[in-house]
């Protein structure tokens, strides 16, 4: 740490850096958050299996997946906000103002989440069509693990962004 004792301006900025660090540390997820994220992605990657077993793929199976995913996502977001006291989740108006990845350091992890979700679903669907159910289950499990890891990276990136002062830095 620099010597700021004789420089009030530097003292103010140094203090602010420390305070941002304290705020960023509050963004650590509670114990139930990552299992919750795993449940969301498990539901998502269960999609191709349910559309195979339900007789009408466009109606019942889609809603049977989308509604629980949406509900668990809302619950996770609400719980995280309540536990940390910080609202930093995806907000449509902010996306319009600042772009999709408004926490800049989270961009690589955000792109990884998107790519894994698309590729995982595609590979899974293809394996199921070829009757390779066991392989499809392994792919789904790996994709869920990858998504949870990427979500952890997103949270780490948000903490890093807050510690750095965000757009005001």
């Amino acid at each position: 740490m620099r010597d700021v004792s004789s420089d009030p301006e530097a003292l103010g900025l140094e203090l602010l850096r420390e305070q941002r660090g304290r705020l960023a540390d509050r963004m650590r997820p509670p114990w139930w958050y990552l299992p919750g994220v795993a449940i969301v992605w498990a539901l998502y990657f269960a999609g191709p299996f349910t559309s195979r077993s339900f007789p009408s793929p466009t109606s019942a199976s889609t809603w049977a997946i989308v509604v629980p995913i949406f509900a668990v996502c809302c619950l996770l977001q609400w719980g995280m906000t309540r536990a940390t006291g910080i609202k930093a989740g995806p907000r449509p108006l902010r996306i319009l103002r600042d772009g999709l990845f408004y926490f800049r350091p989270s961009r690589p992890a955000g792109i990884a989440i998107f790519l894994v979700s698309v590729a995982g679903l595609g590979i899974e669907g293809s394996l199921i069509r070829h009757g390779l159910l066991a392989a499809a289950i392994v792919v789904a499990a790996l994709a869920v693990a990858a998504e949870v890891t990427a979500q952890m990276s997103v949270l780490r990136a948000i903490r890093q962004y807050i510690r750095g002062g965000g757009a005001a830095a």
């Binding site: 301006e9 530097a10 305070q19 910080i86 930093a88 989740g89 948000i158």
Partner: protein, 113 residues
């Protein structure tokens, strides 16, 4: 958005600088207790200073409740964000200038015999 580096007398006091700097750090809304703990100030100081910032149109306050516990949330308004960014940029410039002049003074010192 890059704000012009200029001092803002309303934000300059250290407590208000802390509150605004934390609100500008990236979160959308910050809850009273989280802001108080991060800034290291008391409830009454946060209440008083946030009222000043709210009256100036720099901070938006939302009051709600979770169960029976009241919760207060804060966020910067666009004007507040602009002012904070400008003030922090000004502080950073000042800090650089002070460091540079101190380094010059060090160089100008005569060597000890």
């Amino acid at each position: 958005m890059t704000a012009e580096a200029k001092p803002d007398p309303l934000i300059h006091p250290i407590t208000r600088l802390s509150i605004c700097g934390l609100l500008a750090a990236g979160a959308d809304w910050i809850e009273f207790a989280a802001l108080r703990d991060a800034a290291g100030i008391s409830d009454s100081v946060l209440s008083k200073q946030s009222r000043v910032l709210e009256d100036a149109g720099y901070v938006e306050v939302r009051k709600g409740a979770i169960g029976r516990r009241p919760r207060t949330w804060f966020r910067l308004t666009p004007e507040g964000r602009q002012a904070v960014q400008g003030h922090l940029a000004w502080l950073a410039q000042l800090e650089q200038a002070v460091s540079a002049s101190r380094a010059d003074a060090q160089l100008a010192k005569p060597l000890p015999p």
